[in-house]
């Protein structure tokens, strides 16, 4: 089991690398100059060029990529006399030291006095100075946002991620209750009106846009139920739960449809097996037969689809987040794409892919728990 887990974890690394490579290539290929978008329609072209240079976007593509990963030194450019020359390495180290320990203004001023030609502002405010020679993904640093002044990518994504995590968690619970419940019922009452109705509803659920369902719920459910229409109230746990009820139902209902259809077919398969007939013949309660004997053995495809759904809910909740105005990860990434905030796009997609593979890995590992017949071998 342990070696299998290690095996799988090592297998994840090339996947993640490939993802960063892809995102990086796509970022470079999308038309739209990051400096131009950042500085606005009235920006001076020289300013745009200087900005791109400072942020490292003028470097050759491959260099940018290596720097991002942390395999190449992120050369720090302060604006010196030649306008674009690199700062002396020794100064760089000292400045970095000032930054890291959060030096006071006086210390910066004293430092600037020793190095004529540079201003205090240069040492304090140039964004790239934040990154060291080798400071990239490898060193756990995702860089600084191109758009949000003074914000690190990890901060931008982190805040949003926990909102989305709660949303996804709530939705998957809704999805499991509705989906597995309806699936079992359909299977047990197969070919009755219950079965047909719930499967028709499942088809509607699969094909209903979450956006539309969300708007309907805001228009017609929020008022009568006394729930907030939109927004994320994190002042109290109660407020947070209230603000997540409608989004979780909207998102959960849609994923429950797939789960219901899959549960039904898996259960039907199992229910026709001999041992189920034996169990019934022994006179066991129908509840015990269905839940203990049948459901457990039908669980592998269900767990797989639940796991996958959870992955998708984490990364694909952008429409729900927009409709309900939740400050989540999907919206953050869409916003960064429109604003060409390359650092946040890359960082965000990197985090998403890590989550996605992790969830998949956990799903695979959980098979053994749900079905004792599955044992992960050593080879």
């Amino acid at each position: 089991m342990l070696s299998y887990t290690l095996h799988r974890i090592i297998g994840v690394i090339p996947v993640i690398l490939l993802v960063t490579m892809l995102v990086f290539t796509l970022n470079a290929m999308i038309p739209g100059d990051p400096g131009r978008i950042r500085l606005g329609q009235r920006a001076d072209p020289n300013q745009v060029e200087a900005w791109n240079f400072k942020r490292g976007y003028s470097a050759p593509f491959f260099t940018q990529y290596l720097r991002y990963l942390g395999f190449a030194p992120a050369r720090v450019y302060l604006d010196d006399a030649d306008h674009h020359g690199p700062v002396d390495e020794s100064i760089y180290d000292e400045v970095r030291e000032l930054r890291v320990r959060g030096a006071t203004l006086e210390e910066y001023e004293a430092f600037a006095a020793q190095h004529p030609g540079y201003s205090v502002d240069t040492f304090r405010d140039q964004p790239l100075i934040y990154r060291s020679h080798f400071q990239g993904v490898l060193q756990g640093e995702l860089g600084e946002s191109d758009v949000k002044a003074g914000k690190r990518v990890i901060e931008v994504i982190g805040e949003a991620f926990f909102v989305t995590l709660r949303l996804a968690f709530g939705s998957i619970i809704v999805a499991i209750i509705l989906g597995v419940g309806a699936g079992i019922l359909s299977a047990v009452k197969s070919r009755t009106w219950i079965d047909y109705t719930s499967m028709v509803l499942a088809i509607i659920g699969v094909s209903m846009p979450v956006f539309w369902l969300g708007i309907l719920m805001i228009m017609f459910l929020a008022g009568p139920l006394g729930l907030p229409r939109s927004g994320f109230d994190d002042a109290s746990v109660f407020g947070m739960v209230r603000s997540l009820v409608l989004p979780c139902i909207a998102l959960g209902v849609i994923s429950s449809a797939t789960i219901a259809r899959l549960t039904r077919s898996a259960m039907l398969d199992v229910l026709s097996q001999d041992y189920v007939r034996t169990a019934k013949a022994k006179g066991l309660l129908p509840r015990v037969v269905v839940l203990r004997h049948a459901l457990r053995n039908a669980s592998i495809p269900i767990v797989t689809v639940v796991g996958n759904s959870f992955g998708y809910l984490l990364v694909g909740a952008v429409l729900t987040e927009s409709v309900f105005a939740l400050p989540g990860l999907g919206r953050t990434i869409v916003e960064s794409i429109a604003g060409r905030d390359r650092m946040v796009i890359t960082g965000g997609i990197l985090i998403m892919s890590v989550i996605f593979v992790t969830v998949n890995l956990l799903v695979d590992l959980s098979y053994g728990i749900f079905d004792p017949r599955v044992r992960h071998g050593r080879g």
Binding site: I30, P31, G32, D33, R36, I37, L39, G40, Q41, R42, A43, D44, P45, Q47, V48, A50, L78, D79, A81, H83, L105, G117, Y118, S119, D121, T122, D125, V147, K148, A149, G150, K151, E159, A160, V188, W193, I194, S198, L201, I218, M219, F220, A222, G223, R229, S230, G231, F232, P286, R287, V290, S322, V323, F324, A325, P327, R331, T332, E335, A338
Partner: protein
Amino acid sequence: MPRSAFDLLAKSLGALLLGTTLLGSLILSGCTGGELGSKNTPDPNGTMRLALLTNPPDLDPILISDTTSSGIASKLFNTLVGYDADLNLIPELAEAMPSVSPDGKTYTFKLRKGVKFHNGREVTAEDFKYSLERLASTSSKRPNVVKPIRGAVQAIENGQKGGDTAIEGLRVVDTYTLEISLEKPYYPFLFLLAMENASVVPKEVVAERGSSFSREPVGTGPYRLIEWKENDRLRLEAFEGYYEGKAKVPVITMRIIPEALTRVEEYKAGNLEMVDVTQGMLPRWRGSAHAEDVRVYPQASLLYYGFNLEKEGSPFAGYGEKARKLRRAMNWAIDREFICERIVDGRYTPANGIVPPGLPGHKASRPQYSRDLVKANALLVEAGYPLGKGLESVDLWFNNQGDNAKIAQAVQQNIKEIGITVELKQLDWAAYIEACDAGEPSFFRMGWVADYPDPENFLYFLFHSSNKGPNGNVTFYDRPEVDALIDQSYLETDAEKRLALLQQAEELILADVPWLFLASTKEGMLVKPYVKNFNPTPMDDDSAGGSQIPWHEVQIVPTGEAQ
């Protein structure tokens, strides 16, 4: 009697499904008609609740270049001069309008005494010097604001070398007197000083907070920023020490709600005091019991379809008789009334030139192009393309926002009727602006929102040959006569004569027909009837409740019973 738990479960689930179906059909029938319900329930604490479409990128004045940020910043900061309701310049933190030297180069400002920053310190001339010099630094996004000041160009260069950005032309005479000398007379200079970018900031706070000043700004404005949750909400609190008295609304919250329908639902539920409108909403609200909520006011902004006049191989390029007649023919083919009234519910006004209505120098008497296919066809014949023969199909480029696609389709249809085939090409803003800067499209949609209410802001940026490409002149218009008139207008100190020069330039440009002149825009909003003293000007847009409105005067006055 149910035989087992399953039967019971089945029955209740069945009932639930049936219920859902019924509720669903009820909802659907409810969608099609019925009175529009909108609650007039002010917040019990008197909070002004606004919605933002996006998270503001920055609130540091030297970084602001978008309407959302400037709408918020205008509540946090003040400038030397501002505008009254008719967009005349008035003193703001200056005691009076500055005295200007006879040569038009030196402005002397007497500052108001006792104006306080949010941290309690009094504002002095030194602070203005510091704040304007910051605009010349490399971290600034708007160095152009201070460029006309003597020595500013040098300061900007110094800044790029890592040096000091002290500007020679800025002189602190005493604590309350600031003298600004320009390189040469520059009439629009006071407009520049009225922009949010030129707001006064406290040096000690900027020094302490560094780049995070943008996220925790401190100014002199009627409100202080007390909370900012990215992508979620901002909270402003009335500043006790505001120089014109504490604002009447104690707290403003701004929630970021990207989805238009959600914003409207929140407004209807009585959770927002105002909201922007989208297509299709106005007729419905006007016909409802809440018609008084609808506010439509003209904007100092315009929309046009430009031709790239330098595009090689394009039949639409150049200043020759043939190309001009072709462009004019297309202008006569467009049904502006349909676009303005039907596509955007009257939120546009057909344009009769470049300078939009509501601005000084707008010429209301000039006739506009109307739809006249006879004229259009006759011009096409004169241009040598009878019924469009001999013209290949042309790509019309536009960015994928708002009503752009619908308008482009209408234009495409109109032009097709005179025999010219147009293909639509849609891009997102980032890619689009890059293509336009580079002069890639030969026929494209573009707009311009005034930075300040003056014709120069349109004519100089959109038509002066020194601004070709990224600076705004995306038609690559290049006429020495027009350049000369605009240049001359800067030196003229007499307001009337100056306006006449600019109008002359506008006429010359119109004769060259560089655009399909389309429309100037209006802003539409819904505002709760209990919001008083909220009177937007053409320089306000719907983001964050506008940027020129005196916000300390806005009031929430519940009238009668809350419904």
